[in-house]
Structure formats: structure tokens, C-alpha cells
Amino acid sequence: MKSELSNELHEKPDRMLDKIGIAKRIAREVMDGMYINLGIGIPTLVANYIPSSINVVLQSENGLLGIGPFPTEAEVDPDLINAGKQTITMMPGSALFSSAESFAMIRSGKVDLTILGAMEVSEQGDIANWKVPGKMVKGMGGAMDLVASAKHIIVAMQHCSKDGASKLLPSCTLPITGLRCVKRIVSDMAVLDVLPDGGFKLLERAPGVTVDDIKKATAGKLVVGGEIPEMTL
């Protein structure tokens, strides 16, 4: 575990977690028996790091419960993709359904955990991840439905933009995806919870990252209490 971690850090000279590191840390949030929706990007990687001893079912909002590993070349089936349009396989015990049924189960709270990416998160738990006015429009896809209804929401994100601006803000500057919905953030620098009354409570530091680094990188209200442990992956 430790040696593996060191390897990661060698690959990432600025000491912060790479995408795989974030995915590995989030995988530790996964509990036995959960139904989980993984967003496009880093969240999709989380599946690779869930221990085989833990039984979970991955939901794909385009109509599948029971996402399996990527297919071998021989197994590739154009009729079987995930929400990121990647080819996938099905686990034994899978179920297929329509998009209406898929969001019925999301909206009624049957999905235990949603993991998704973000461009910005506010200290109130608002999230923005679908649009940069005038520049870029990805569309919200299923994200607005997921954040409005999931029981537990974890965001996987970069703490700062490429030019160093914090993405953990007092309030979002971009069009939001959902209000007061994010519960936990795993960034390349830290694990933080959004407090019910607002504020980012620092829970863990990425290996080698200091509390001061995190303070500088967090524009929103940061709550630091006691010793902040380094995360284990």
C-alpha cells in the first residue's frame, strides 16, 4: 500500500493526487451493499479500485444496473455502453431498462451514492459542472437529476484550476447544477465535508500536502479542527 503510494507520488511531482489517486481515495468511501452511480471522468475510474470483497452494483443512467469491466476486443458490443459512451460489459445479475425507469430509481432515492465531477463547489454545497457561459456547454446530462435526489453525493475534482484559482468557493460563479447537495469532496489536495451550515470541513490531506497549502487553495470558508491526518489510499 505504502510503496504503491510512493510510486504515485513519484509520477506526480507537485505532490498532489493524480486522477487515479482521487479515484482510489473515493473507492474507500464505498460500502458493501451500495447501489452507486458513477459520473463521467474520474468517477468512472473509481470502479477499478473497489475491493472485490465489497459487493456493490453500479448504475449507468442510460439503462443498466450491474456495470462490469470493460470488454475484451472480442466482447465489444455497440449496444452496451455506459453513460460516458464507453463500451462495457454486464455483471451476472444485471438488469436493463429504459431511461425513464433509470431516472425513476434515481429520483426516488434508490441510488445510495452518486460520485461526480465538478468545475466549482460552494461552501453551501452548491455544485456547478455543466456550462461556462459563452465558452463551453457540455449540458447537464443526468447530473441535475442525480444531485437533486441522491442520498449521498461525493464530488471528485481538482482543488484549483490550471491557473491556480480555487474551485472551492464562497459561492459558485458558474451556472449551478444543484443547490446544497454536495456532502463530501475528494480533491487532488484533500478530503472535505460540506457542513450543514456551510463551510468546508477539512478531514484529510493528500500525502505531502500541508494544511497551509489547502488553506491557500480554498477560497471558500475552510474549517480546520485539530490534527488533520494524511489520507491513506
Binding site: 449496444d79 429504459s98 431511461s99 465558452k135 441535475m144
Partner: protein, 232 residues
């Protein structure tokens, strides 16, 4: 049973006029009505409003109709990796209504289920809520959303029979069943058209009552957007 079979895609879309409101099944390029889209390109019908989760990619699916400027308006949830779609949207050449995917699915479902409006929590507090009625139920805020219906729905299934019963395959089901139900006229293309009695009534995803025309599709490409594999 009532026979719904037409010869091909061109016959199926023969009376789709300019300015029509269409629904097109599919998620990305998975489960899209390839033959019907090709026929619309040949027909050159213009000013279309297309309700579809995505707009295909630059050179396939609805993306082809964006290039030929046959589409006036898209109602979708995701622009994603379609550069031409994003360009037309940002330049204002194309009218675009972006709505949450679950809301899109449910609005189409409502259209096919005779439910003119319903409440959903998706989009509360966002741009999507602009101009919409909100209402609290049990301490949670919801938006009122209206049904969506189409002049013509174009869907793609795996198997279908001459009475219009459809069975989809894998995640190619996605929006197709709701769109089949929400079309004033529903046109289904299938990979395999069989006589009535060949499909198990218990396995049918779209009952024939929703389908007005059905035809045997040809030459499916079934393109893959993100071919992602592991080593064998």
C-alpha cells in the same frame, strides 16, 4: 393483428413536413434510428425541432442533419463531445433547449402517458427553473414540468413484429420506449422484422399500439463513440 409494415425508411418518413417536431431515440450513437435519419437527409426536410438526448457526433446520427442545417431547434440533455453542436449552440445558429436527462425522459414519458404536467426536484435553483412554477411537497421544493409530445417519433429496436411490437437490446433501449409512446405518428425501424407470434408477449418492451409504421432496417453501422477495452 393490425399490420403496420412499410417498405423502407423513405416510405416511412414520406409525409414528415418541414417544421415538424420529431423525437429520435438513442443515447449517444447507441440505439439511434440510423435508417430514418438517412431518409430525412435524402428527403431534405427542413426547420425540424429534434427532441433527442444527444445530437449524435459530427459525422453521424443527428450530427449529419446539423451539418445540412435541417435542424432549427434541439431539445437535449447533453451536447458532450459534438463540436458542431456546441459551435452552432454558442454562435446562436441553432436554438437549443437543454434539460436535465431525467426530466427529459420523464417529460417524454408523460407525453406518452397522458400526464400533462408533473413535479420533479431536478433543476431547482438552476437556470432550468427559470419561468417555471415551483412547489413544496413534504418540505422539499419541486419544479412543475410539462409533457413533451412529437408529430413523429423515430425509434430503433432490435426485433419487431408486423403488429408493431418491439424488443430493444442492451442499453440501446434508453429513450426509445418513451418516445415510441409520445409520437402522434411513431415510426420504428428494427434489425429483425418477424411475423406476429414470434415474439414472447412477456418480453415485449413497446406494445404495438404505440407504433404506426415499422420497417426492416438495413446496413446498420452501430458506430461506437468510445471503444474502451481491456486485455483479454
Amino acid at each position: 393483428m393490425i399490420n403496420k409494415v412499410v417498405a423502407d425508411a423513405d416510405e416511412a418518413v414520406r409525409d414528415i413536413p418541414d417544421q415538424a417536431v420529431l423525437m429520435l431515440g438513442g443515447f449517444g450513437l447507441c440505439g439511434i434510428p440510423e435508417n430514418a435519419i438517412a431518409a430525412l437527409l435524402r428527403k431534405g426536410v427542413k426547420g425540424l425541432t429534434c427532441i433527442s438526448n444527444n445530437a449524435g457526433v459530427d459525422d453521424f446520427g443527428i450530427g449529419l442533419m446539423l451539418k445540412t442545417r435541417q435542424v432549427k431547434k434541439m431539445i437535449s440533455s447533453y451536447v458532450g463531445e459534438n463540436a458542431e453542436f456546441e459551435r452552432q449552440l454558442l454562435s446562436g445558429e441553432l436554438e437549443v433547449e437543454l434539460i436535465p436527462q431525467g426530466t427529459l425522459a420523464e417529460r417524454v414519458r408523460a407525453g406518452g402517458a397522458g400526464i400533462p404536467a408533473f413535479f420533479t426536484p431536478a433543476g431547482v435553483g438552476t437556470e432550468v427553473a427559470a419561468g417555471k412554477e415551483t412547489r413544496d411537497f413534504g418540505g422539499k421544493t419541486y419544479l412543475m414540468e410539462r409533457w413533451l409530445r412529437a408529430d413523429f417519433s423515430l425509434v430503433k429496436a432490435w426485433k419487431g413484429d408486423t403488429a408493431g411490437n418491439l424488443i430493444y437490446r442492451g442499453t440501446a433501449r434508453n429513450f426509445n420506449p418513451m418516445m415510441a409512446a409520445a409520437g402522434q405518428v411513431t415510426i420504428a425501424e428494427v434489425e429483425e422484422l418477424v411475423p406476429v407470434g414470434q415474439l414472447d408477449p412477456n418480453h415485449i418492451h413497446t406494445p404495438g399500439i404505440y407504433v404506426h409504421r415499422i420497417f426492416q432496417g438495413r446496413g446498420y453501422e452501430k458506430r461506437i463513440e468510445q471503444r474502451t477495452t481491456r486485455k483479454a
